[in-house]
């Protein structure tokens, strides 16, 4: 609207600039860094990934010295698996805490574009989790190689176990964020996400023999199995039929895309 036409209305001396996605990303970053839950959950992620990534190879080494069948980086899996809980929790809080406090009304009044808010939150959280997990998995990987005292496994092992796992974790966090936008309740969103992560595995364990086909699909495509696939054939999980690491990424990406669409529709259609 041309400001010249509002002759009688109020005209603000503050320059009017059209806000864009970059502004929203900056705002979400401010929100992210200014609450303590971020520090707590990400601190827990650091402790778990580095701690478990150090303790397990150390225990394995003292128990049975000599070369193991498993690649050294694979010991990082346990820490990362525990770390998913942190990533899921913080992701779920992103929207659900705004709904819980009513802040979402303020946010959507300041930025009526639901798509922009969703995109900004997604971008900030994806980048944060990716960067942090990448740093942590690299450090943990170095620990593991050094502690096991094995030869450097080479880039084809390093890449999925660091970059691949980090992208997977970040996507998992984004999935959790989208679930939070749909469920709108912190505890509900975290519970739903834990169900998504754990339930296929638990159900598979209790399925009777005649359903072994379903069982192996559940086992192979549950999120822990997909996550382990980034470390190659490994331990009791591996039976050769689970997807390879990069396929896991595509599968999760598909799920995230669906959840994002759902989150957008929920934000757009439902009353706040």
């Amino acid at each position: 609207m041309n400001p010249d036409t509002d002759v009688r209305g109020y005209v603000s001396p503050i320059e009017v600039r059209r806000a864009h996605l970059g502004d929203a990303i900056l705002a979400e970053w401010t929100k992210m860094r200014s609450v303590r839950s971020t520090m707590w959950t990400l601190g827990a992620l650091v402790v778990v990934v580095l701690g478990v990534g150090t303790v397990i190879p150390w225990a394995v080494r003292t128990d049975a010295p000599g070369p193991q069948g498993d690649p050294p980086l694979a010991y990082g899996f346990f820490g990362v698996l525990l770390g998913t809980v942190c990533v899921i929790t913080l992701g779920a809080l992103s929207f659900s805490s705004e709904f819980g406090t009513g802040l979402i009304r303020t946010t959507l009044t300041a930025c009526p574009s639901r798509a922009r808010v969703l995109a900004a939150k997604t971008a900030v959280y994806f980048c944060l989790v990716f960067a942090l997990t990448l740093v942590l998995t690299v450090i943990a990987g170095i620990f593991e190689v050094v502690i096991i005292n094995s030869p450097n496994p080479g880039p084809t092992v390093w890449a999925p176990a660091t970059v691949g796992v980090s992208v997977y974790m970040a996507l998992l966090g984004v999935l959790s964020l989208a679930v939070g936008a749909m469920v709108r309740h912190a505890a509900g969103a975290v519970t739903a996400m834990l169900g998504i992560v754990l339930l296929p595995l638990v159900v598979a364990m209790f399925l009777p023999r005649p359903l072994s086909g379903v069982r192996s699909v559940l086992l192979n495509y549950s999120i822990p199995s997909q996550l382990v696939s980034f470390y190659g054939a490994f331990g009791g999980f591996a039976n050769g039929s689970q997807p390879s690491g990069w396929v896991s990424l595509w599968i999760l990406l598909g799920v995230v895309a669906l959840a994002m669409a759902g989150a957008y529709v929920a934000l757009d259609r439902r009353d706040v």
Binding site: T5, G9, Y10, I14, A24, T30, K31, V35, T101
Partner: protein
């Protein structure tokens, strides 16, 4: 469409079977403080949420400056809203809360310190807002609304929890904002507050528009003076005679349950003369003045959703009649139907409504 008006047309919101807002049509103009008045649960907040596109109307439209809010470019620079004072993440400091909003809206970060000063929260700006009192939360909400220096401002119950100094400050602020040519819509359930703040009134009850007029007009139309007239007990049978005489003289007499008359339209000396002429002795002839608060309560008496009672058996009495929107057509000050109680004003809070009480 140069002026930033809020225009609602046939605005309706239903939640399942309950209609929260029913067919509201109104305009909120710039340059005035418009008071949005109604009892708790009458649909004020729902209407305000629909104005800023948080709730979708079931039918009808509401626009700000000619466009639905969600299609407004630079929306936060055009409309600022205080909808829910506690709509803040308790773990975040006031400064960071406002900073994130400023960034989201493309407003320079230096504006944050300005609004912190305006609402007087600078000293506690670094503290987590969880520890804020209701009044401080209210100030933070007002700061968020003022952040974009917008042309249209919505305040939902802004004086809730404020101390007298704060209430005075909010009043002055509203008037100043309106005087600058902005459109200011302030909701409240307190008539007394609106009488000193607002220029124009929108009164709603149970989601329906009951009145849309200037405060001055509302006062002149609703704060009717009346006289209470009681005939001597030994002449009680002649009350009807007096009522007829009053009617003949151009007044209006209504009988109260205790046998007294409520007379409007003619002044006290004239009533005395009429009684004297008819040779009727009076035991009471007293002037009464209905306050604006009473007028408002009378207007919304039938549409109060949450009414406290002191009668535990209230649940066993038959339900009250369906609310009827009151007549807001122009006309001389009129006293509506006399309630079945000895006194003019509606019952104070905590007392059962007369209708319910008189039933066995």
């Amino acid at each position: 469409m140069g002026l930033e008006m809020i225009e609602a047309a046939g605005l309706t919101k239903r939640y399942g079977a309950k209609t929260a807002v029913h067919d509201l049509t109104f305009e909120v103009r710039p340059g005035h403080v418009t008071g949005f008045l109604g009892p708790n649960g009458s649909g004020k907040s729902t209407t305000m949420r629909m104005i800023v596109g948080l709730d979708r109307p079931t039918s009808g439209t509401v626009t700000v400056g000619g466009r639905p809010f969600r299609q407004t470019p630079n929306a936060p620079r055009k409309v600022g809203a205080l909808l829910d004072a506690q709509a803040v993440h308790g773990g975040r400091s006031a400064r960071n809360h406002l900073l994130s909003l400023a960034q989201l809206s493309g407003i320079p970060a230096s504006r944050v310190e300005e609004v912190l000063d305006v609402v007087g929260l600078r000293d506690v700006a670094g503290k987590r807002s969880k520890g804020f009192s209701l009044g401080m939360g209210q100030r933070l909400g007002i700061a968020a609304a003022l952040l974009g220096d917008p042309q249209v401002l919505l305040f939902d119950e802004p004086v809730n929890g404020l101390d007298p100094e704060g209430i005075y400050w909010v009043r002055t602020l509203m008037k100043r904002l309106a005087a600058e040519g902005r459109t200011v819509l302030v909701s409240s359930h307190l008539m007394s507050e609106m009488a000193v703040t607002a220029d124009h009134l929108l009164v709603i009850g149970r989601g329906r528009l009951l009145a849309d007029m200037s405060v001055r007009e509302f006062i002149s139309r609703n704060s009717a003076d009346f006289a209470r007239v009681r005939v001597a007990d030994d002449a009680a049978g002649r009350t009807g005679e007096l009522a007829a005489a009053v009617a003949e003289a151009g007044g209006r007499a209504l009988k109260e349950p205790d046998g007294a008359l409520r007379v409007t339209g003619i002044d006290l000396p004239r009533i005395s003369d009429l009684a004297h002429k008819a040779d009727i002795r009076l035991w009471e002839l007293s002037p009464h003045h209905a306050s604006l608060e009473e007028a408002y309560m009378r207007l919304t008496q039938d549409v109060v959703d949450y009414r406290s009672t002191d009668d535990e058996l209230a649940g066993f009495t038959p339900p009250e009649d369906e609310a009827h929107p009151l007549d807001t057509a122009p006309g001389p000050p009129e006293v509506p139907e006399v309630p079945a109680q000895g006194w003019y004003a509606p019952p104070p809070p905590g007392q059962a409504p007369p209708q319910t009480r008189s039933r066995p």
